[in-house]
């Protein structure tokens, strides 16, 4: 445990990379998730089935395989990405597939009467979406989105496999230099756990608020 004093400052930049990967995945993945949710609930058959296919492929494939497809696969198509870029692209794709289902559930959960009432009041479709549907849908999707963000935060550790210098890579390197794998990996585990558990607490708080505000 005394080695933790030495390890901790070395791991902090790794934690920073891990957090950046998480934010990157959410930044690009969430808007794409909204698009996929709208597409898969639309009445345009072709777009709907294409959307469903993308979502099912994204959710059915192991995250690691998606990462390898982007990093080792795209060069075959003439597109070579840097390791961090590849990780961000892969995590964003996975994020969009998973969160599209959350957004879809949120859109469906807004009672039909709300839409009918908006139309009866003569609101334009855009205003109906912006002022009536989205505010209610957002309140429903926030707790599960935080839950997904925690899974994504943990999932960034896959980027170790393409040698992105994130938290797990730092811990593994420290372990291989000092041969104190157990100690180094336990500290990394603790650092993952502290962030995950704080976010879980936050998710619980937003969920209780979402329920009481109805």
């Amino acid at each position: 445990m005394s080695s933790w004093n030495e390890f901790f400052p070395q791991f902090l930049p790794g934690l920073w990379v891990t957090l950046k990967l998480t934010c990157g995945g959410l930044l690009f993945g969430l808007p794409l998730g909204v698009v996929l949710a709208v597409v898969t609930t639309s009445s345009w058959r072709l777009a709907k089935w294409a959307g469903i296919a993308i979502v099912e492929l994204g959710r059915g494939t192991p995250g690691l395989i998606v990462l390898y497809l982007v990093y080792y696969g795209l060069p075959q198509a003439g597109l070579t990405l840097r390791d961090v870029t590849a990780a961000t692209v892969a995590l964003s794709f996975t994020t969009s597939a998973y969160t599209s289902e959350i957004f879809r559930a949120g859109l469906v959960a807004v009672p039909q009467g709300q839409r009918e009432a908006s139309r009866a009041l003569g609101l334009t479709p855009w205003k109906e979406l912006r002022l009536v549907v989205l505010p209610q849908a957002l309140r429903i999707v926030i707790p599960p989105l935080i839950g997904f963000a925690i899974i994504l935060y943990q999932g960034t550790s896959l980027a170790f496999a393409i040698s992105v210098p994130e938290l797990l890579s730092r811990a593994y390197n420290a372990g291989s230099i000092t041969f104190q794998y157990g100690s180094a990996l336990a500290l990394a585990g603790l650092m993952y756990a502290v962030v995950s558990l704080s976010a879980t607490g936050l998710a619980g708080w937003t969920r209780s608020r979402a329920i009481t505000s109805h």
Partner: protein, 213 residues
Amino acid sequence: MLHYLSVLANGIGQTVAITVTSFVVGAVLGLPLALMRYAGPLPVRVIGGAVVETVRAIPPIVWLFIVFYGIGSGSVQLSTFAAAVIGLGIIAAAYLSEIYRAGLKAVAQGQWEAAQALGLPRLAIYRKVIFPQMLGVVIPPSATYAIGLLKDSAIASIIGATDITFYATQETQATLQGLSIFGLAALLYIALSIPIAATSRITDRKLTERLAR
């Protein structure tokens, strides 16, 4: 393409073995963990809750590394398969215990009271009354978890287990045809998840029929 498929097929056995064994480990260890949180005295419940939350707060790869490099490189030598099964099994136990607990809670309180009124001993109440009713609630989410476990098992290739992903990585390094090879691997994982989903649907239907009778 057919050549790649035959290469990747070498890893199917390992992928299935890791998934099934870790699921069994998790299914067995998850039960006492669920009972700890469901029926234990307060301190036991708190310990059970802390174990589940801690296990779930740490990424699966980190668990695998802790088992393989942290524990398995010392006095005990672990094979890649054993390390993968222990690591994924611990995680499965935590997740499945939560599914069991939800199942236990779903059995109506009146069933307990009726069984006690009939004078059934505690073990018999669990075995004859609670568990059979729990099964229907537990199977669908367990199958979903099993599919998740199948996908998570891909990370075992990082510590060197010779599964589908391992062969895909190796073949890509030899041929540089990553798009085709990993695309095929993705389809293979999806194909492997279909029987799990189908089994779940069939057992679920059979159980509902039996309970309805």
